[in-house]
């Protein structure tokens, strides 16, 4: 603690580096989690529509429903009658409803089942299986769109995770460099300790403690900045863009912040231990 006070400039610089690096990591983690949630939201909206042959009996409908439900990977099945389908279409056309007015009396739309898959990757095989069921005329699932979306979200996730990994490495590098430099600036001190007969552990301990304290303070600072910033962002966005749903689960945010502090402590401890090592060789 004394040494932190006496080397105040270096200590402040180390704390600053730790917090700046971890702020970057923290912000990006939250961006990444939100992007992930967003793409999941998109994906879970994907659905398969099994259009049925005209005029089926109740038993047939039940049989088809059961067949679909028993396909592995199917998470949701719902029957949509031709009337429901018309309503839905009206809604989706919104301002061009007038087109459909002529259809009111004689509904050309077929009955159908709405099916959802557990994961977007399963949509294509499920669609194939449904097509084979008797009584199903056609399966619609926006083939090209699903494929694009699945590919795109997978890319976003991989690229995001990759970027996050690189950022974490960068943070570790920056922090450990700073700690190394701060140890380097005091290499004389370490040499003298060793010459006075200090055991390695005795020399290492204060630096370890210092590294941990610096790491802790720096990561705490960054945790506070990221946490406060994110919560205020969530509030603002709630008013400005009520339809965008950010992750507001306090637990997730807390986990991220906790992770940041933990990482800070760990890097501080490991960084200082590693940096002293080379000055400890006798």
């Amino acid at each position: 603690m004394q040494s932190i006070a006496r080397n105040s400039w270096i200590s402040l610089a180390s704390i600053g580096t730790v917090s700046v690096s971890l702020i970057i990591v923290g912000v990006f983690t939250l961006v990444f989690l939100n992007a992930n949630q967003f793409t999941q939201g998109l994906e879970s909206g994907l659905e398969i529509r099994a259009i049925l042959k005209n005029e089926q009996s109740r038993t047939d409908l039940n049989r088809i429903n059961y067949s679909i439900e028993s396909i592995s990977g199917v998470s949701f099945v719902e029957f949509i009658s031709k009337n429901q389908a018309l309503e839905e279409m009206k809604e989706s056309l919104e301002n061009r409803k007038e087109i459909l007015e002529g259809l009111q009396s004689e509904n050309p739309l077929p009955d159908a089942f709405k099916v959802k898959a557990e994961t977007p990757e399963q949509i294509v095989p499920i669609a194939k299986e449904i097509e084979a069921i008797e009584g199903v005329e056609q399966v619609i699932y926006g083939q090209s769109f699903v494929e694009k979306l699945v590919a795109a979200t997978r890319w976003i996730r991989y690229a995001g995770a990759g970027l996050l990994g690189i950022l974490c490495l960068a943070a570790v590098f920056l922090i450990s460099t700073t700690i190394k430099m701060s140890v380097f600036a005091r290499r004389k001190e370490i040499e003298i300790m060793v010459l006075l007969g200090a055991t390695k552990w005795f020399v290492r301990f204060p630096y370890l403690l210092e590294g941990m304290i610096l790491g802790f303070l720096g990561s705490l600072l960054s945790g506070l900045v990221v946490g406060a910033g994110y919560l205020s962002l969530v509030n603002h966005l709630d008013q400005a863009l009520p339809f965008v749903s950010l992750i507001t689960d306090k637990l997730v945010v807390l986990k991220v912040l906790g992770g940041i502090v933990g990482v800070g402590l760990l890097i501080g401890a490991i960084g200082s231990t590693m940096s002293i090592r080379k000055f400890l060789k006798t």
Binding site: K188, I192, M193, L195, G197, A198, T199, K200, T282
Partner: protein
């Protein structure tokens, strides 16, 4: 207690600082190490202290081969030796008292002992009013005396001083010599490298003269002398 058998020290840059040196120093002796600048005095001292390793030959300290010590035994060797470094090596961030106390903390002395012993030994070297001052606020001679106090504070079995009077005026230097003689009488082995002809000549102790890495003279009750 300390034995050199045919020790040669070759520094990585090719300088042969010690050349086939054999020497034996017994417990309780007082030895002056003299010789021209660059003769190898500090190198000999550094080898005892295991700051440098001998290139050839063996060095025994209390019967143990210094070069063969395991890394975790080294601190315990050093704790037996009080060392006055030629270049002081004070911790610039710590005050005088903290610098001296640090040598005691390192060997896990109790806080009470430290509080009592540190002012005591600083008074012995004449620095009792400089306890809370940083090394850079001291004169050269004062820094040297802090270094001496630090070497004495743990009452080591062997005291090695590398030119401890280089920055001291004759009065202070003589005061220090009295202190060392006292300590030596109490049983501590003292090894001191020096260029102070007057001191060596008056003290009448064993003198080991080194010249170009070789022991050129080893006399009980010797004098500094330069081919006189």
């Amino acid at each position: 207690m300390i034995n050199f058998y045919n020790v040669t020290k070759l520094y990585p840059n090719g300088v042969k600082a010690l050349n086939d040196v054999s020497l034996s120093i017994c417990k309780g002796e007082f030895v002056f190490l003299v010789g021209p600048s660059g003769a190898g005095k500090s190198t000999l001292i550094k080898i005892i202290f295991r700051e440098e390793l001998p290139t050839r030959g063996q060095v025994l300290f209390g019967g143990k081969n210094v070069a063969r010590l395991r890394p975790r035994e080294v601190p315990y060797l050093r704790r037996k030796i009080g060392m006055v470094f030629q270049d002081f090596r004070l911790l610039s961030q710590k005050t005088v008292a903290e610098n001296v106390a640090f040598a005691m903390e390192v060997i896990s002395a109790s806080g009470k002992d430290i509080k009592k012993r540190v002012p005591e030994v600083l008074e012995q070297v004449g620095l009792k009013d400089k306890l809370n001052v940083l090394p850079k606020e001291l004169s050269g001679g004062e820094q040297q005396r802090v270094c001496i106090a630090r070497a004495l504070v743990n009452s080591p079995a062997v005291l090695i001083a590398d030119e401890p009077t280089g920055n001291l005026d004759p009065d202070t230097a003589w005061g220090l010599m009295e202190l060392l003689e006292e300590i030596n009488k109490a049983g501590t082995t003292v090894i001191m490298s020096t260029h102070a002809r007057e001191i060596v000549d008056v003290m009448k102790k064993r003198v080991v003269a080194i010249s170009q890495g070789k022991i050129s003279r080893d006399e009980e009750c010797g004098v500094y002398c330069d081919e006189l």
